[in-house]
């Protein structure tokens, strides 16, 4: 389908729903239906609008239609020795780039290479009034207008339907290695933060049950010298470990119980929650599995300088995202109202402020 046709159709559909105040549920690959507040409204599928719009490896810039699958993007980039630096999880082959950005999902490389929002350069969206708008662009430096394209990252489609996105991409590292250490949680938190303050080619960390995995990425000689400096044991099939971690296919995630995501200060002391934890992002991301109460999770995250999300499972109707301070919630309400006055775009998917 041509660009104008598809986007025009989306505009018309949104206008029609806005006039009737009938909710729309924006759908990409449907791989992240588990995430956020309850799903409401008629489906608006973006998956048919897929394909790479522009990609020139020398530019380090990629422009894609929002319905493009992550797998297609990764293959196109890999063919040129490049990657999406934020290493997004898909949680299924059907995952699209639009859904990924809507959730602002980033993988193990995030603390060292930036999150999805950091790599977004531009966004074309249809707002809740059915207007086709473009923000940002395809250049690395751009300060014209407020940064509405980054605002779309993590907004869960509540401010607009993303139709096209531009990203900064980077060369894949020439070499990678995975090291394994045995250490307790407190020592791990101290160690990974100390290492992150040194010129070392760190690109991921993950700790669970007394075992720390560290990934190094860079020029072969740099990786080799860092291996000597850090010690530990080299893991032969390291790459597989990070893919499984990113996609939540490690045993830790296999249990179907509720999974909590606590995003906290990287140096926060071990959280005493009495439940199994997997700690990524140099201490900044703590996955907790088990029957925590909402209050327990939120208190622990807040005390550790961050916020808690009911990531997967449990009663999503009881609250998913960390409540916002009243003044910040006020801004959210106003932004939501400005971009989507009829309140039809993914209503309630972001459930920590009253629209």
């Amino acid at each position: 389908m041509s660009e104008t046709q598809f986007i025009q159709q989306v505009c018309e559909r949104v206008k029609d729903h806005a006039a009737r105040k009938a909710p729309l549920r924006i759908v990409g690959g449907g791989t992240k239906d588990f995430y956020g507040g309850p799903l409401v409204g008629e489906g608006l599928s973006i998956a048919p609008y897929s394909g790479i719009v522009a990609y020139e490896p020398r530019e380090l810039v990629l422009t894609v239609r929002a319905g493009t699958r992550l797998t297609e993007i990764e293959a196109a980039l890999a063919a040129e020795g490049q990657m999406l630096p934020f290493e997004p999880p898909g949680y299924g082959d059907a995952a699209t780039i639009g859904g990924t950005v809507a959730c602002n999902f980033s993988g193990p490389r995030r603390p060292f290479a930036g999150a999805a929002r950091d790599l977004v350069l531009g966004a074309r969206i249809v707002n809740g009034k059915g207007e086709d708008l473009s923000f940002g662009g395809r250049v690395i430096k751009n300060v014209a207008g407020y940064d509405v394209s980054r605002l779309m990252a993590g907004a869960l489609g509540t401010l607009g339907v993303m139709t096209e996105l531009s990203f900064k991409v980077l060369p894949k590292p020439a070499a990678e290695a995975t090291l394994v250490f045995e250490m307790d949680e407190a020592r791990m938190i101290e160690s990974v933060n100390r290492w992150a303050g040194q010129p070392l080619p760190l690109s991921a960390t993950a700790w669970e049950d007394g075992v720390l995995h560290v990934r190094l990425s860079g020029a072969a000689a740099a990786v080799a010298s860092a291996k000597l400096k850090l010690g530990g044991t080299a893991l032969a099939e390291g790459e597989q470990f990070w893919v499984k971690l990113r996609e939540h296919r490690l045993d830790f995630f296999a249990d179907g119980g509720p999974l909590w995501r606590l995003s906290v200060a990287q140096t926060a002391a071990p959280l005493k929650l009495g439940q199994p934890q997997l700690i990524e992002w140099g201490g900044g991301l703590r996955w907790v599995r088990g029957p925590l109460s909402l209050q327990q999770a939120r208190d622990a995250a807040q005390q550790a300088g961050g916020h808690a999300t009911r990531f997967r499972g449990g009663d999503r109707g009881a609250g998913v995202f960390h409540p916002l301070a009243p003044a910040v919630a006020k801004i959210h309400r106003r932004l939501k109202h400005a971009f989507d006055p009829a309140g039809i775009l993914n209503p309630g998917r972001m459930d920590n402020f009253q629209a």
């Binding site: 930036g114 250049v139 430096k141 020029a219 400005a338």
Partner: protein, 479 residues
Amino acid sequence: MGAAALQALHPPVSVILDRERLAAFEMDAYIQKRALPLAAVLPDDESQVQAVVKALKATGTPIVSRGAGTGISGGATPTPDSVVLALSKMRRIVEIDRNARLAVVEPGVRNLAVSEAAEPAGLFFAPDPSSQSISSIGGNVAENAGGIHCLKYGLTVHNVVGVRVIDGDGDCLEIGGRSLDSAGYDLLAVMTGSEGNLGVVTQATLRLLPRPEVTETLLAAFDSATEAAECVGSIIGAGIVPAALEMMDRVVIEAVERSMHLGLPKCQALLLVEVDGIAEEATDMRARVEALLHESGAREVRTASDEAERANLWKARKGAFAALAMMYPDYYTMDGAIPRRALPQVLDRIYELANEAGLVVGNVFHAGDGNLHPCLFYDGTKPGELERSEALGGRILELCIDVGGTITGEHGVGLEKLKQMCSQFREPEIAAFHDVKHAFDPAGILNPGKAVPTLKRCAEWGGLHVRAGRLPHPDIPRF
């Protein structure tokens, strides 16, 4: 009315009312426009900022917040009915957290002071606008300041993890913090680069990075600007992300040579490439860059490994604007960004347009991220020349838009580029910007009339004009 409200505040806040001292606030480094504000107010802390915003909101008085006043797009230019909120007294470095690699600072702290304070911990703050020795963090956040090392290390938006802000209602917003993300919409992204329109930053938490172990610098001479521009693409296409990749053309090289006598190679274009990282990585990259420079037709390549040699290679680049100011009494610096592949074509077109206008243009810019800074030279004493240079500037910015770029890569819109905003964005997009503004500042008291043009009209303003060889802040290098 606004000024009286300020004097009535308890506890009292420093207020400047006399014309003589107010003159210091009549403009920033965009010297096109000036106006004496009603008053200038210099709060000591966040609670005073909040009290000032609430008092001025009550009287409907426009607030122009100001850091060091180094901005060159007019973001801190007052209007006669406004009060300047100067954050210069709030310059405490609250904390350098070595372990967490974070700095917590007040808005008046100088950019360079952050890196200086972090140095004992082996850390630095990456954004390095050329004004870094005097520009302040509050202003850097407001402008989303860039600098020389953006391709590798990002802009301010990538290096700020949290801010405390007083919005247009006088409410304190805590945005972000110490975690790598926060709940809700990404207000941090919207606040960064909002040019004082959405809130007054009272504190910022900044990400600090480990200082690279080794930095290698190379300077290469080319027989044509096009060749040099193509070489930029080859380096990045080879999978190398340099820390800096700067370019200077013949006009600039000649001006630098005339004023500084550095013994630069006689050539049409110079590329300055810096690679950094772990020793092994930097050495490896340097060898690859050197080979690529030669393959791309470089006539001469000079390299530096120690600090003194590096400083020497950088001298030409850092002294370029001062050298130009000495040679040409009046000039006007533009700021646009383009996709890198368009560099050769855009440079050629800029020279053509300058020829047609009968003016000289020099180019010294951040080639690695496609951020152009063409300098247009004119003689303000010749009738019509200023107007011709402004028209040429406008055409160059439109050229940037035509090739898929933007009208400002790092200087901001301010007052300077309101007109070009109307070329880059369409009406519903401009309306959306006003909606964002309204969400943070429904009364419209924060820096009204800046950054986003009204839908009704786009005013006509110019750029950084250097009059009679005088740069604003002549003591700091411009690059």
